[in-house]
Symmetry: C2
Subunit: 478 residues, 2 copies
């Protein structure tokens, strides 16, 4: 039972008796969040960020907590999500272990941690709890809701269940529901944790956490976040120094890629509660936006009330494959939402929204710039909100930022500098064979390449922010 | 310690003191094999089949053992590898648990099973042991050596280490060495087994096999053998009947794909020894054909002595990706071998050579037909063996055989009929909701669609069997 709460975390109490979709209720529950930037007088510049499974609410550095956040390259002063303009609210998901109530929290009814007795959690509950945070901050309408991965599901759910709460949405590598390959992978991750003898049906204590199960589950997660070719590019058949690996308690490893995964998985285990992981993992698998429309996910998409949306995915993502983002874009479009759809070509797979800010940043910056323009126009004219963007597919670019970014969605500024690791094959062979080295690809998120300035990053936008009518989406064929 | 030996298995003793690449030696070791068809008087029609990690030597039904073999659709009377013409020898890999000596065998020095004390195994040892079987059968030169997956590695090693033993090679979804994504997956599979409390450092007994670790490892294997889209096509978000699943001892499963994997993994666990699995899995990761040429795999390929080779791979295979088969084809071609390279478009991924006989069969039949023609010519003229085939890429075809084939490389005629399973989304919803049903995709290998006759299947060949000179390979760009 482990909670990991960043120092600048703020809290909002959820209403007592907060009802969960699958029948449970929570008493004395709370939501953890951080804010960056200032809410303007009109309260019209709020951006809500919903996270993937593992991050906390510390999305970027700010005065109260200057350590880098989990999306440092994307959010902050002068970044694509520019906190000089936007009031950014990032919530820690309900059920997580980073401050919001979840299995790692104390159940006020018993005085003990919920553990496996935490009621069954749904993505809809995460959406409802996040909506509560927004309203508790005095925000009637978000300018933009942003969600990636599980956060993309949560964003869809929030828009469906709280019509009018957000005017615009940025949905990155999200989906209306999971597909069987991803479901099976996650089921296997849960099986790894639950078959660890320290699991004890979820009643482990801090002294006997199911670490080996968590490590294995995280390794599989890390592997699945990137395209196979990316692992080849980074590690090839680079060997791990057997003597050094053994000295660090990592026997029976031959290859650098094994050491890399072990290092990152160990770090994760020290920052996430197993019961929380299981609850969120299962919530992802069970989520279906179609539940909002008698099982028809496309109908649910068509009902979503938004002015505009940016939908992005990655061609090498096999957990949330591109066909799923195309489905989201098409459904929104058919419902009358102005949609920009971007298919990113990248080896970074499902991790690309974190790892490949060079490709994700500019479209996000352009979209927000257009939103801002529209917001200004709205002060003069009553309804230009339907201005829409044409779909386009970004071209592949050699992405220098890949090598410098983290593979993991865990926010941490601590590089794997204490573990055995060899440099990827692009690094010098001296480093890999002689030292306990920190490979470039294992550097912390502070090493993410600087993103272009706002002025430069809006250049690629093909949309005109003054376009008065809804342009038809042209979804890029795969 | 479990051996699983088919009833028609025959044995050849390995020379006492059989030396292994990494320094060990074996005493009193044996190789298991089966043969189908008849060796001709000239002893010129022998085809050696080398298997992937898990199959036994029972490649197809024959008089001594009429149950379907693990490659029933490919080998037999009138099949692409036609046993009316060819004398087929299939060996069980050294180190396996299907009759050849391995960790599950009794060590004559101690009278106990080797278990974890079996000496470190290499693909080269598998190749040397298979070569011994060939020679023990009185065959000086194979017409063709065929290897798929791990067997493709073994075939390359055999040709490198035993020059002249084979005139032709069919290499399917093979590689000169593994890439880091596949290495990491296999390392994770081994970790799952070794972290099972019943593992006991490999000293488990028959009453306490590390079943949960083996099941998890096999699930990951099965998942990785197919393209993600294939799982979507077959299962979608089909649910598992919770009550039925629970009654069958499968709690906490929501989706049909989970039940499918559980069923097949359970079957595998009852047919493979964990220590043998670990030994072969590690041998795959460590194999590098470059070891035959001072670390240069391409140089090793260029040295291989063959007349002609057929090299095939699959575009959705991310364990042995197509770029690796292209490398094999190019290296052989540069060394003067006449190469046919076929890139198959299929969702069956690494499993396609088993599952998609419709696409793998015709090129194999055509190649063997050309080999036979060349062999006949050789009786008249001394040297037309260098006749070569041009490379081509097969087009994608809707493959009806996919749904009817097994996902697993385990040879078994027993369908998962006793386990909970729902039909894939193409099956009727009645079947999935009311019964403990055997889905079509879980049917046994007897359900594999009939392959075209030899006459029909040679039609797609673009090569002329009378071409006297070596045509340049034109490797299909990806």
């Amino acid at each position: 039972m482990m909670e990991f709460i960043p120092p600048a975390t703020r809290f909002v109490a959820l209403p007592d008796g907060f009802k969960l979709k699958r029948g449970g209720t929570l008493s004395g529950a709370r939501m953890a969040y951080e804010t960056v930037g200032r809410l303007n007088a009109a309260r019209s510049n709020a951006v809500l960020i919903l996270t993937g499974l593992s991050p906390d609410a510390h999305v970027c550095a700010h005065e109260q907590h200057p350590a880098p956040g989990w999306w440092e390259g994307m959010v902050g002063h002068g970044k694509p999500v520019d906190t000089d303009r936007w009031f950014v609210v990032c919530v820690n998901s309900l059920g997580s272990c980073k401050g919001s109530t979840g299995p790692a929290s104390v159940d006020p009814a018993t005085g003990r941690c919920y553990g496996p007795d935490f009621p069954a959690l749904s993505i809809e509950d995460l959406a409802d709890a996040a909506a509560h945070v927004v309203r508790a901050l005095g925000i009637e309408q978000l300018a933009v809701v942003v969600g990636a991965s599980m956060g993309g599901m949560t964003a869809l759910s929030l828009v469906a269940r709280h019509p009018g709460l957000a005017r615009h949405m940025i949905n990155l590598s999200g989906a209306v529901h999971a597909q069987p390959f991803a479901i099976a992978l996650r089921a296997l991750q849960r099986e790894m944790i639950q078959s660890d003898p320290q699991w004890q049906e979820g009643r482990y204590d801090a002294a006997s956490v199911p670490i080996s199960g968590m490590v294995a589950a995280r390794k599989l997660g890390l592997l699945s976040y990137r395209a196979p070719d990316d692992w080849s590019r980074r590690f090839g058949r680079e060997r791990l120094d057997a003597a050094l690996a053994s000295a660090a308690g990592m026997p029976a490893m031959d290859f650098a890629v094994e050491g890399y995964l072990a290092c990152h998985a160990q770090r994760f285990v020290r920052a996430f509660d197993p019961n929380a992981y299981l609850a969120l993992s299962r919530a992802i698998d069970r989520f279906d936006l179609g539940d909002e429309a008698a099982g028809d996910a496309d109908a649910a998409l068509r009902r979503l009330q938004l002015d505009r949306a940016l939908v992005m995915g990655v061609d090498s993502d096999f957990l949330f494959p591109l066909s799923q983002q195309r489905q989201v874009a098409q459904g929104l479009q058919e419902g009358g939402v102005g949609v920009t759809y971007r298919a990113v070509s990248s080896l970074a797979g499902h991790d690309a929204f974190l790892a490949d800010v060079a490709q994700f940043g500019p479209p996000i910056a352009a979209f927000l710039s257009d939103v801002a323009s529209g917001a200004r126009s709205a002060e003069a004219a009553s309804d230009v909100g339907q201005a829409s963007l044409t779909a386009s597919s970004s071209v592949s670019s050699p992405s220098a930022s890949l090598a410098a970014s983290t593979a993991s969605s865990v926010a941490s500024s601590t590089a794997c500098s204490t573990a055995i690791a060899t440099a990827p094959s692009t690094a010098s062979s001296t480093a890999s064979s002689t030292a306990i080295a920190t490979a470039p690809s294992m550097a912390s998120s502070t090493a993410i390449a600087p993103v272009p300035s706002m002025a430069a990053s809006t250049a690629p936008s093909t949309a005109s922010s003054t376009a008065p009518s809804m342009a038809a989406i042209t979804v890029t064929p795969l």
